[in-house]
């Protein structure tokens, strides 16, 4: 039986019942549209999480000091300084999986220039910091080891700070800001990082050499690092190795026995990012599963209508058989009707789903990524639904005896 013969018959039958055909296809339309829009929303969420975490730099670990404990009140990590400058040096030299390590001490301070001022986080760091965070100067430059050694009064501004003090689009390189009356020369402005996973502004910050920080703000060198150590692993596969190497080094240096707890804490940002990504992936899978269920329900709708249609058109089937329709031709006709319904539903569903996904993307504020794979998959699935749920009613029609079909009232 040629498709050219069956298709016009099937289309004619569907056109004679336009409303019912549309309502039947609607189940598939909704199913396919939800599969596509859900997948797009999930992908978008995943992309956003990835973008947010990449703002912190890749392969980054954070080493925090231990917690204080006095009278059963735990002070939290970082509340008791346990990390020394020698620890930092050991991490830099003894851990093969560590590419670079930088200390970071922060305080809140007010930056003043002429008649503008802005209170922000001022951090003392070593130049390795910019490499670990993968952060470059947009204007001017970052500072070098020599500035740190010399305790130079230089400062690198985050974009937000530069904007607040010097105005939008101004070039502050070479100008002076004062922190607690101490003048600092602006070396550069960092490029834009955007929002952190916690919603704060990465760019609302200013960096000075750590030696300068200690001399001018903290008031002299101390044994402990009153802050954190930022570590960059050699590769993303090595973050875990770097973590265990640092742990071993610090436990050894702090003379901790096998039963002692760590007096420090290491956070692996790559793993946190992966966990977040996995979370969104689970969400995507869940949404897709719900959508697939709705597609199957749509398929059952097709089967239901086709069964009604076969019963209702039993006499028609009898007439067709009486004038020479073979059982296989009757089967083909009803299969073609079911397939046409599901394919029309699939096409409209893909269009509707893409539109919804685009709308959702612009509403939720992430880039719309056309889900071609998903669209093909969803369309293929809708065709499969038509096949699976069309075969039973079609077989029922084809197995009718012509004489019984003609007698049916």
């Amino acid at each position: 039986m040629k498709l050219g013969q069956v298709l016009p018959i099937a289309l004619g039958a569907l056109m004679r019942n336009k409303t019912r055909s549309f309502l039947t296809a609607l189940g598939v339309i909704i199913g396919v549209a939800s599969v596509i829009s859900m997948a797009a929303v999930g992908e978008g969420a995943k992309a956003r999480v990835a973008a947010v975490f990449s703002g912190m730099g890749t392969n980054v670990l954070i080493v925090l000091s231990g917690s204080t404990s006095s009278g059963g009140v735990m002070g939290g990590f970082g509340s008791m300084p346990t990390l020394t400058w020698d620890d930092l040096r050991a991490i830099r030299t003894q851990a093969p999986a560590v590419r670079a390590a930088a200390p970071q001490q922060s305080t809140r301070a007010t930056l003043m220039a002429q008649d503008q001022n802005w209170t922000t986080s001022v951090a003392g760091i070593t130049p390795e910091f910019f490499g670990i965070r993968d952060w470059r100067a947009d204007k001017g430059s970052t500072f070098a080891d020599a500035d740190d050694q010399a305790g130079a009064k230089v400062i690198v501004l985050g974009e937000t700070v530069a904007e607040r003090i010097f105005g939008l689009g101004a070039d502050p390189v070479g100008r002076t800001v004062r922190i607690r009356s101490v003048p600092f020369v602006v070396l550069g402005v960092l490029d834009r990082k955007g929002q952190s996973p916690m919603g704060s502004d990465y760019d609302d910050v200013a960096y000075i050499p750590i030696r300068t920080f200690q001399n001018q703000i903290q008031g002299g060198l101390q044994k402990f690092i009153a802050g954190i150590i930022l570590v960059g692993a050699t590769s993303s596969d090595n973050t875990r190795r770097a973590q265990s190497e640092i742990k071993a080094i610090l436990r050894d240096r702090h003379h901790l026995g096998p039963v002692d707890d760590d007096d420090f804490n290491i956070r692996n940002l790559t793993e946190i990012a992966n966990a977040q990504a996995q979370g969104t992936q689970v969400l995507t899978a869940l949404l897709a599963a719900i959508a697939v269920v709705s597609l199957i329900v749509g398929g059952i709708g097709i089967m239901n209508i086709m069964l009604v249609s076969v019963t209702e058109r039993t006499r028609e089937i009898g007439v067709r058989m009486a004038v020479g329709a073979r059982p296989s031709q009757v089967l083909a006709q009803f299969m073609a009707e079911a397939l046409t319904l599901s394919m029309i539903g699939g096409v409209i569903g893909v269009a509707l789903g893409s539109t919804l996904a685009r709308l959702a993307a612009s509403r939720l504020g992430y880039a719309y990524v056309p889900q071609v794979d998903t669209a093909i998959l969803a369309f293929g699935f809708s065709v499969a639904v038509g096949l699976v749920f069309g075969i039973y009613p079609a077989r029922k029609a084809a197995q009718l005896e012509p004489i019984d079909a003609l007698r049916f009232e």
Binding site: G318, R326, P402
Partner: protein, 242 residues
Amino acid sequence: MSASTPPSPLVLARDLRKTYVLGDTTLNALDGVSVTVERGEFVAIMGPSGSGKSTLMNVLGCLDRPTSGSYVLDGNEVSRLSRGELADVRNKTIGFVFQSFNLLARTSAVENVELPLVYAGVSRRERRERSARALERVGLGARLDHTPSQLSGGQQQRVAIARAIVNDPKIVFADEPTGNLDTKTSVEVMRLFQELWRGGLTIVFVTHEPDVALYSSRVIVVRDGKIVSDLRQDPKVAELAA
């Protein structure tokens, strides 16, 4: 036609039986029927309701299969054919006319008539031509695009007759073709059948009206699944009342 006619009869049925089992009673709708129809005959099958005349008709028309017996149609044994092969026989050798017309609703006359040709795989253009010609033969050349609901009962039956002859069948079976029509229209339909018969078509029809049976060339009476009488006659000419 006579020169090319094969010697075998068109319908050669021997000892046809059709048994229905209903619970613990068996019903012999056909109880050993043997019948021969030559080419060019115009046969009426009569009998009271429940006599088995419709069953005989359905078996001869390949809509139903006998429980046992032999049926050779146009030189081919058809009683053991598969459902698909029977469909082909119905498509190419047989035309059907039903009591209740059995036209497809919301479908134009010409599309109804085309139906057998669709399943015969005839091209769209040829289908249209042959269907229009068949409708002209039954006097409905001006109503190709009317749907059944726009036609009278007599006109609908004419469309059905056009559908039955569109594939140039060897034989046309008609099951109570005038059963749903008034007297005047019945005469019209019988006149059409006589025209087709004179044109060389073999026709077998079932009726329970003796008046209608008069138009045939042979009357077979069935009772309790058996043929009880089989008489040839001079057909009464169907003439429209003035």
